[in-house]
């Protein structure tokens, strides 16, 4: 017996994609209109695939290479200075424990304000804790570089964003050191650096996966 209700678009698309229901297949056997519609969907897909490709109107490699070179310089600078920042902060902690309180140097728009000349940042046990933890995490990352799994692209992008943030924080720590800012600023910076590294370690050592495995995301792209 012929089922008189024509198939809906989603049923036809499911059929086209090999996921049709038994009901849809039974209907198609007896309904020429729906068969024609199904053929049209196959045809449209083929025509979409056959559309000529757009070609880039200009060569962007120079821009890409410049960006990459700039990032490499920043990475070199960050890697060099963060060690100095950490070492200096620890030295400061050892030498200046019990030193006099210093004038606050607030962070404004990512820049640390200068403090009175002659005053230096005072390290605290909290600061030492964060610096040590930060070092442990970096050591952990460096210990297993060859065991990194390949990431799917969204995870790779997230890792890049975290690395960028660490570079920015390193720059701010370096600048804070130069200016001798309030210890609370340094504590906050090192705290954020440690937390960012924790996330990075979590991704790199815990959540890396083969490239074909779908990534689980909790953030909506379309918020």
């Amino acid at each position: 017996m012929v089922n008189l209700r024509h198939l809906e678009m989603h049923e036809l698309l499911a059929e086209r994609d090999g996921e049709g229901s038994a009901h849809a297949q039974t209907h198609l056997e007896s309904c020429e209109d729906c068969r024609r519609e199904l053929e049209r969907l196959f045809r449209v897909r083929a025509e979409l695939k056959a559309l000529p490709a757009f070609t880039p109107p200009r060569d962007l490699w120079t821009n890409v290479a410049a960006d990459v070179s700039q990032r490499r310089k920043r990475r070199w600078w960050g890697a060099g200075t963060v060690g100095l920042a950490a070492a200096a902060a620890l030295t400061g902690f050892i030498l200046l424990r019990g030193g006099e309180p210093i004038t606050p140097g607030p962070v404004v728009d990512g820049t640390v304000a200068p403090v009175e000349e002659g005053r230096v940042a005072e390290a605290t046990p909290d600061l030492e804790l964060y610096i040590n933890r930060s070092r442990e995490l970096e050591t952990l990352l460096q210990t297993y570089p060859t065991q990194y799994r390949v990431y799917d692209a969204p995870t790779a992008i997230a890792v890049s964003a975290l690395e960028d943030r660490i570079l920015i924080l390193d720059g701010m720590i370096h600048e804070s050191r130069q200016l001798g800012v309030d210890r609370r600023v340094l504590v906050n910076l090192w705290n954020e650096r440690t937390a960012t590294l924790e996330t990075l370690v979590g991704i790199q050592l815990g959540e890396a996966r083969p490239v074909d495995t779908p990534v689980q995301t909790s953030t909506s792209v379309w918020r």
Partner: protein, 178 residues
């Protein structure tokens, strides 16, 4: 064409993974058209497609060391490109909103869409008339071969969302093409 996998020599990919700029440039030259085309299909205009192309290869250059090689390089680059294109689309979408009496209203809802065509139009023109989200789902599913689950995930939505967008796309195409 966009789903074709161009296979690069292993040695070249290895050099690219090691950060060799010359090898990275070869990777760029091998895949730039596919990436640009994908960006153009999703974003719908030349300027955004160029941004997708540049952002994708900046990301590829810095992240390719994390590509282990157990999937196709094009598959990996394509995923970066799709992520960059969808991010751009989300930014554009947010930018295109206006606050009216404290409410956020999409420009699509306040009459900026072009008028309905009076007769049949060709496939290229029809694609251009679809909303960016609907067009993206259509392209990612029907041309690039992503599943509804994958598309839903990439868009922070469900597979059902992807299916309904695909149905909407084909209904609109049927109206405009016939």
């Amino acid at each position: 064409m966009s789903s074709d996998a161009l296979v690069l020599a292993d040695a070249l990919v290895a050099r690219a993974r090691a950060g060799d700029l010359e090898a990275l440039e070869s990777v760029y030259r091998a895949y730039r058209t596919q990436v640009y085309n994908l960006g153009r299909r999703i974003c719908g205009n030349e300027e955004d497609a160029e941004d997708v192309l540049q952002d994708t290869f900046v990301e590829v250059c810095r992240s390719i060391r994390r590509y282990r090689g157990d999937g196709s390089l094009w598959g990996w680059i394509r995923q970066v490109a799709v992520s960059k294109a969808l991010m751009l689309l989300r930014r554009e979408r947010n930018r295109s909103r206006r606050t009216v009496s404290g409410e956020v209203i999409s420009l699509e809802l306040i009459g900026t869409n072009p008028p309905e065509p009076t007769g049949p139009i060709d496939l290229e023109a029809a694609l251009g008339r679809l909303t960016p989200v609907t067009r993206s789902v259509l392209w990612l599913h029907d041309v690039e071969g992503y599943t509804h689950e994958e598309i839903g995930e990439m868009m922070g939505k469900t597979a059902s969302f992807s299916k309904s967008q695909l149905s909407r796309a084909h209904k609109r195409l049927r109206e405009w093409l016939d």
